[in-house]
């Protein structure tokens, strides 16, 4: 790539329809308030509260089984919660109030709210029957109701910006893991979400392919995207995160700037975790 072209280009993504946001809007973009989640009798999330400020990159660390992925899925409205709430730009989402009680919205209604939140999965989850281009187009045509031609242009442009301009007609099975994950990022990004959630985006990659994905994520962070990243990449957390969150056994046990957290973790369990991953 000779000239640098931003990933978050208003000319490409267009202004968001029907949104009251302004660049100076205050308050967290995304917030979890006392989230609780049960699997049977097991409490996976035990009152998790989190606030993500506009443009912040929040990296979530923690041992496997600590509830990180579950938290992301609840934030993305992909799982029903058993307590607490999720707020997007100050508005409670995922539920509606009926007689003082919160009732989960129907799938159709949830769908619209989900389109405001981008999600990237550990195992990419690209659609194997569609080319890279079609993978990125699908949300534009099905959710944003763009025309085929309009969607094709935006999708091709976005793929070029993540460095896959020559791979648009390839199917997922013909792409490397790193390329697949970059398509997945483009697929989420193209809907112009208010926040991007990453669920261990590099954990399924061969070591030599991790860099190209982290590069795109760093670029995204530089351009001011609001991000929540669950990862084991300590380097990424140190250099890109604005805040680091440590989770263990369904709770947030510590939160701080990366400088504080890595130099001087307050919690014993944070210390043990950092020793284990180093």
């Amino acid at each position: 790539m000779t000239e640098h072209r931003p990933l978050l280009d208003p000319a490409l993504l267009g202004s968001r329809e029907g949104s009251a946001e302004s660049p100076g809007a205050t308050g967290p973009v995304l917030a979890a308030v006392e989230l609780r989640k049960l699997y049977g009798r097991h409490e996976v999330l035990r009152g998790v509260s989190l606030e993500v400020e506009r443009g912040d990159v929040k990296v979530v660390l923690g041992p496997s089984g600590s509830g990180k992925s579950t938290m992301l899925r609840c934030l993305a409205l992909l799982e029903a919660i058993d307590g607490g709430e999720v707020r997007l730009e100050g508005r409670t989402i995922g539920v509606r109030q009926v007689g003082g009680r919160s009732i989960r919205l129907a799938e159709r209604e949830l769908a619209h709210q989900r389109s405001e939140i981008g999600m990237v999965f550990q195992r990419f989850n690209l659609f194997p029957h569609l080319t890279a281009l079609r993978n990125v187009m699908l949300g534009l045509t099905e959710v944003r109701k763009r025309s085929q031609d309009g969607a094709r242009q935006i999708a091709a442009d976005m793929l070029a910006r993540v460095g896959l301009g020559t791979r648009v007609d390839f199917y997922p099975s013909e792409l490397s893991g790193g390329q697949q994950q970059r398509v997945a990022i483009a697929r989420a990004l193209v809907l112009n979400p208010k926040v991007m959630l990453f669920d261990e985006p590099t954990s399924a990659l061969d070591p030599e392919l991790v860099g190209e994905v982290l590069e795109v994520m760093e670029e995204l962070a530089r351009e001011g995207m609001t991000m929540v990243v669950v990862t084991h990449e300590i380097g990424f957390a140190k250099h890109v995160a604005d805040r680091v969150v440590m989770m263990d056994e369904g709770e947030i046990i510590e939160e701080g700037s990366p400088e504080e957290f890595f130099a001087n973790p307050r919690h014993e369990r944070s210390r043990r975790f950092l020793e284990a991953v180093h």
Binding site: R108, G118, M119, F121, R123, L126, H129, E142, E174, A188
Partner: protein, 243 residues
Amino acid sequence: MSFDPAVFWGALTSEGMRAGAIIAISLTVLAQLTAVFIGLGLAMMRGSGIGLLRGASWTYVWIFRAIPTLVQLLFVWNALPQLFPALREEWFSAFVAAWIALSMNEGAYMAEIVRGGLLSVDEGQQLAARALGMTPWSVFRTVILPQVVRVIIPPTANEFITMLKITSLASAISLRELLTFTQQQISITFRFAEFYAAAAIYYLVIVSVFMVLQALLERRFRWTSQRGGERSIASVMRAIGAR
């Protein structure tokens, strides 16, 4: 009495045999197509969160797989008009009866095939599509269904071929398909070998055409960008051979 090529050729090119073949093919295509949709409905009911629907689907598959196809065919043709006067009309022909009986029977088998297809689609597919903000119907239509279709093509093609052969059961309700005509001619001429051989040739040719169509269809679902110049006869033959 030896094999008389002239009689064989006469049978092979007879108008009646051709007409019988057309009836067999039409019945196969219609019944199998209907069965795919019945199977899809049953499979979705089976996977639904509503217990009543799951139970109804299970019961359907249980009944229609247990009772011999011939019994179902005879029941629809002979018993149903006795029970429902509306079926004593002109339109309720042997063809319509066979279509109904064979699709309902085959629907039970397709239900299991489609269910397997639905289960084969990775959980992450739905998750990713929902995360994009797609509605359930949109997820099903654009993400799940294409992947199910790919998985069920080979077993469905198998069922298709079986269906063609099962249409010969309709000779029991005097539908003038291939076998009915063949047996009629045999009862007149007593040339068993020539007429059965001619019928066999028809079935062979029809099944071969199906196999080519299946190979072409499977190739459309191969999901690869390297498709150019592959439309040769050789590649189709390879696809058939690979099965």
